[in-house]
């Protein structure tokens, strides 16, 4: 078994959520220092005197990065170790252990890089991150000791008191750094222990998602409000919504409200305007699906294509509206717009790229007058993902164009700009509908 097999698991559902958490980790933790919202994070880059707010930010990042990576790597490892007869795969324990250790190295390097850049405590930060990472990797892998719970709880408490970490690091940087080899050894020993692997393999339902995500499953929200009527596309659209989360009301009121509430609370505690961006992004998880292929709905393939189009368009309408409003709020009430003007001079490049993407994509969606977003899951075989990627590429192209809008849109009057957007919208909708009809006419539904 090659170690690449471990990384192949990145395609699994948990990895998708993991990527989301990773972005979250990079963007959320006090992107703007909580006690100085008027001053962008990046303006401190390279300065000798590090304000207290940036110290807070660094240590919060030190806590959240290993947590996010640990959840992802731990769940990926669990999904591999949990398959039937996992114990019989040659070298599975060794490869999984090495894989998680490699990810740990990446986490520690990023942590050290951040602390080094801001004049923090790279060694001590790596020590803290290593312990936290190891705890989160081991937790979904059948090793749930009290010490792991203790570490997780301590990390949560330290989130609110990062100055304690700063004091400890200033006083005892090297002893804290010793936690790095200790964590590595702990991880390696536990993950290679056949007893834990056996215990996990006995569990028939190895969770693909962390428990808190599964418990927050939106599937149960809403009630069926009467039987769907046969006939028109609209009634089948309602039928699709019922299959998804229970109905139109759930889809367009309860789910967005639930998501908004969650991110508002999260954003309040983090004091980060980036939660405005995360909110519309998170709505992807509750996207409206077309008619599931497995049930034999008495509806033709052509009508199914129309229903799928309507689902995507309706969802996009909601998505783009929320995205547009939040983008406007960010530009109006946060210093983000000013920061975006400084894009070429920003450091580091990765954060810049993510910042540009998150701000530009909703603008692109709004400006394109809601081009439809297909469901990013694989309900009707692989074409669904390809179509999704196609639309993402479209969004990215539109985003790049919009970032440079001064160059090519400046010459247009508002009416002309509106016309361009309208044409773009009609074109994208027509192409999308055409592709959907071709797919539904030719491909298997199950």
């Amino acid at each position: 078994m090659k170690i690449s097999a471990y990384y192949d698991l990145a395609l699994r559902p948990m990895a998708f959520n993991g990527a989301f958490l990773f972005m979250l980790a990079l963007m959320l933790p006090g992107f703007m220092p909580p006690d100085n919202l008027a001053e962008p994070f990046f303006s401190y880059w390279g300065q000798e005197a590090m304000p207290r707010a940036v110290t807070y930010l660094l240590w919060r990042e030190t806590l959240i990065l290993p947590t996010a990576f640990g959840i992802v790597a731990g769940s990926m490892a669990a999904s591999l170790r949990g398959v039937a007869l996992a114990g019989t795969l040659p070298g599975v324990r060794r490869m999984v252990s090495l894989g998680t250790l490699q990810v740990m190295v990446v986490v520690l390097l990023i942590t050290a890089y951040l602390h080094h850049g801001f004049g923090g405590h790279p060694l001590a930060a790596m020590g803290v991150a290593s312990v936290l990472y190891a705890a989160w990797v081991l937790q979904p892998n059948g090793i749930q000791w009290n010490i792991i719970r203790l570490i997780s709880t301590a990390a949560l408490l330290l989130w609110f008191k990062p100055e304690l970490l700063e004091s400890a690091a200033s006083a005892a940087s090297l002893p804290i750094a010793l936690l790095i080899p200790v964590s590595g050894a702990w991880l390696l020993t536990m993950m290679r222990d056949p007893a834990h692997l056996r215990r996990q393999a006995l569990s028939p339902l190895t969770p693909q998602l962390p428990g808190w995500i599964r418990r927050a499953d939106l599937g149960g929200i809403g009630r069926l409000s009467g039987a769907p009527n046969g006939g028109g596309v609209v009634s089948w659209f309602r039928t699709a919504a019922r299959a998804g989360v229970g109905g139109i009301r759930s889809q367009f009121v309860l789910v967005p409200a639930w998501t908004a509430g969650f991110w508002s609370i999260f954003g309040y505690f983090l004091a980060s305007p980036m939660t405005f961006m995360i909110y519309p992004l998170s709505l992807f998880s509750g996207s409206l699906r077309g008619l599931p292929g497995s049930l034999l709905y008495p509806v033709s393939r052509a009508r199914r294509a129309n229903v799928a189009y309507m689902c995507a368009a309706a969802f996009s309408l909601m998505y783009a509206t929320i995205g547009g409003v939040t983008t406007w709020l960010m530009y109006t009430y946060t210093p983000f717009a000013g920061m975006m003007d400084e894009v070429p001079r920003l450091r580091p490049p990765l954060l810049t790229l993510i910042g540009v993407m998150t701000i530009a994509m909703p603008i692109a969606m709004l400006a394109s007058l809601w081009p439809p977003i297909p469901e990013p899951t694989d309900r009707v075989k692989g074409w669904s993902m390809r179509l999704f990627l196609g639309v993402v590429v479209y969004f990215l192209c539109a985003a790049v164009a919009l970032i440079n809008h001064h160059r090519f849109m400046g010459a247009l009057s508002p009416a002309q700009s509106l016309l361009v957007f309208a044409l773009l919208s009609v074109l994208s909708h027509s192409i999308f509908l055409f592709i959907l009809h071709r797919i539904y006419a030719r491909r298997d539904l199950i």
Binding site: L224, G230, L296
Partner: protein, 237 residues
């Protein structure tokens, strides 16, 4: 009227041939038993008949219409119970029944009640948390209660206990045999199949290796389906 017409249908999944020049015609109301080893193409054939899957080549018609363009009038007359349940997991049994019943003007509430009682289906239990057997019962109920003209049952008995199996077979015979219905039922439970099937189609590696009435096959291969199956599959290998 022709219920099912399949002419030289080949289905490929990538490089794998699932159906290889399969031809099958069902022109009279009957119960057709579909036999074959695992992976012989039984489920694929049933999915082609109802249009959920389309052939790579060949012609597949159900109720006189090409399965690629089946519309509401035809699809309302087809019922299918999948081998692996493909129900909406977050719903309760009762909610799912009310959801599906809304698709059909011909939904028979009396039959629904009878099956719920006979098969001891718990309307309040969540679909996802029900046992495989209970999900199979639910799947069966959803496939038959709108009185389909073409009923496709993919391993409908495999997860049921002996009493439920007998009840299901009795209901199928009582409700559908002698009516204007063609039933295609795939099963590995050959003794149960022997009780209801009038005609047997045997698939092996995606090809039809036997297609005859039960009596003809018994005469040719032996007295029971077990022996018959071994000989047919053995002969084709």
């Amino acid at each position: 009227m022709s219920y099912v017409e399949i002419e030289n249908v080949t289905k490929k999944f990538g490089g794998k041939v699932a159906l290889d020049s399969v031809s099958l015609r069902i022109t009279t109301p009957s119960i057709v038993g579909l036999m074959g080893k695992n992976g012989s193409g039984k489920s694929t054939l049933l999915r082609h008949i109802c249009g959920l899957q389309l052939p790579t080549s060949g012609v597949c018609r159900t109720l006189g219409t090409d399965t690629a363009v089946l519309d509401s009038p035809e699809l309302s007359r087809i019922g299918i119970a999948h081998q692996h349940d493909s129900l909406i997991g977050w719903m309760s049994g009762g909610r799912l029944i009310s959801y599906v019943s809304g698709f059909y003007a011909t939904w028979d509430t009396a039959l629904e009640e009878r099956l719920v009682k006979l098969l001891e289906i718990n309307r309040d239990a969540g679909v996802a948390t029900s046992s495989p057997g209970n999900r199979q019962k639910l799947s069966l109920l959803l496939a038959v209660c709108h009185h389909p003209t073409v009923l496709l049952l993919d391993e409908p008995l495999s997860d049921l206990d002996p009493i439920a199996r007998r009840d299901v077979i009795d209901v199928l015979i009582e409700e559908f045999q002698g009516h204007d219905v063609a039933i295609v039922i795939s099963s590995h439970l050959l003794h149960d199949l022997e009780r209801i099937a009038e005609r047997i189609v045997c698939l092996d590696a995606g090809r039809v290796v036997a297609d005859a009435s039960l009596d003809e096959l018994k005469e040719q291969y032996g007295s029971n389906l077990d022996t018959m199956f071994r000989r047919i599959v053995g002969a084709s290998a």
